[in-house]
Symmetry: C2
Subunit: 353 residues, 2 copies
Amino acid sequence: MNSSATSVLPSGLSATQATPARGEEDALTSLMAQVGGDLEACNRTIVAHMDSPVALIPQLAAHIVAAGGKRLRPLLTLASARLCGYPGAADGERHIRLAACVEFIHTATLLHDDVVDESVLRRGLASANAVFGNKASVLVGDFLFARAFQLMVADGSLSVLSILSQTAATIAEGEVLQLVTQNDLSTPDARYLEVIKGKTAALFSAACQVGAVVADRPVAEEMALANYGMNLGIAFQLVDDALDYTADQAKLGKTVGDDFREGKITLPVLVAYRAGDAAERAFWRRTIEASEQADADLDEALRLMARRNAISETLVRAAHFASVAKRTLDVFPESRLRRTLADVADYTVSRGR
Amino acid sequence: MNSSATSVLPSGLSATQATPARGEEDALTSLMAQVGGDLEACNRTIVAHMDSPVALIPQLAAHIVAAGGKRLRPLLTLASARLCGYPGAADGERHIRLAACVEFIHTATLLHDDVVDESVLRRGLASANAVFGNKASVLVGDFLFARAFQLMVADGSLSVLSILSQTAATIAEGEVLQLVTQNDLSTPDARYLEVIKGKTAALFSAACQVGAVVADRPVAEEMALANYGMNLGIAFQLVDDALDYTADQAKLGKTVGDDFREGKITLPVLVAYRAGDAAERAFWRRTIEASEQADADLDEALRLMARRNAISETLVRAAHFASVAKRTLDVFPESRLRRTLADVADYTVSRGR
């Protein structure tokens, strides 16, 4: 046990304990414990700033924001700022406000994603569009996006505004590219990677980078954290794409097989399609490209993925990106928080097992 | 004739000529002529910055941005900056870039509006959502919104960022409030006014205010232009709401009666409903509140509006706001551009006649 005297972790929740699966799952718990006070302050900031005289806005926002989620992105901002020594002697709160910005941008994209994907479940609950309608989801997404920029303006850093406005554009580009590749089995891996970098990893990257910016650290540390976030985000989305075929619905918090039904091009499908024989390829072309699906097709898809090791191949690639993410942290001196961030990379992959 | 030697207007298109209807309609032509070079530069900036490696983005954006429209909002930014003496000796271009930001924000909201309203026509052409689908329209709207903020960050003024991020939040609030009041004939006028201030006038106001900010003018001038834009925008939307019942489709550039079919609460409906007898009120409750409409109902709505002077009452109110807009310009010394901006307020109302 290496939990220090200052640890707020319950005994036995050290970030570096021996049992990998459990230790990795606990990485998030450890991270939350180490920046717990900041996260609570961030949650208060989120609730305070999603208010509006138009009552439907906080109602709908609360449905998605307050419904929980892991708060992984704001956690990354808070932890990155701490890793960079912020706040120092002064009791700075910029990282808290900017972590809230990151969560607002994430929430805005979730609202629009669920409209675009016609999702009915989100984090195990009815999605906002299913409860409040597509129109309100689009508009409240716009509101949260604008509110994020208002918060950044109040913070006053043009560097932060530059990073997050660029990220917002990149997210939209990734989402549009995903729309364009839908149903297209000839999508190269590189294009799929561009999609997940845009729609997911860019915000992970920005969330981490912003932590270094508020701490006013040298560009090498800023870039290290940006790269950590980018590789972590890619790993995270690869695992998400695997889970869409393998998780049980309660664990996933959304409908299993959504990607399949939408004809979304993800790595498990690309691997299974390319490794398949003629009959298998015909199956994928019918179900994904022509969108002709019968009830039993999802089970058949899972069977073919198992035959072609498509899920395990996806997880191997995720593990590669997670390992790159961990290495980028080497620029920082050894610390409990650095170890925990490395464990978070492992946790990201272990979710898929 | 008062066209000066430097005028780029064709002979006979002076902004102050005597015939009101014609003169007012020419106000926009005169405005375009006076800031014509700036507007062309702004259009080039718009086209350059809506580019993306994801080809669907410039394709969809071009459909709506390049399809024209009056460019009224960027024109207001350009004219306001000039009215404030910007650029002075130096050949500044900030107003051009910020005018492009204003148009991007406007375009993003149009894309999302058309999805929310399920519109099929926009500026006389098939709407982007009708051609490219709702999903792409939502996402490209997000992209243009993010791109607007990237341009503002490149400009580097936190004042401008503050004004336009606040405006973006206000627009979303106005749109959500409109959604909430839909089908509700008990909506008070004040609430309807909040809706149109939010969804339309706020951006007119910001467009003008930003012109004063780049010129670094005293707060009195900044506020005067903000108020000019706010009152102009209210007048503009009141007339739009009248035109939705009276214009011919070719002139309106969108489907006549859209507001009626959607059960949108606008002043013509509120006036006709409140002034109506029992039978008329029953008609409005059936068609607007219960959304039960037959083919002949739009004609009946127009007949009842005529009987209760609902359109003329709406235009009288628009004229009031236009006249307030004109008075706010008194803080500026007499000039051709000031007169043209005053004429633009009259033009806004004369569109409805």
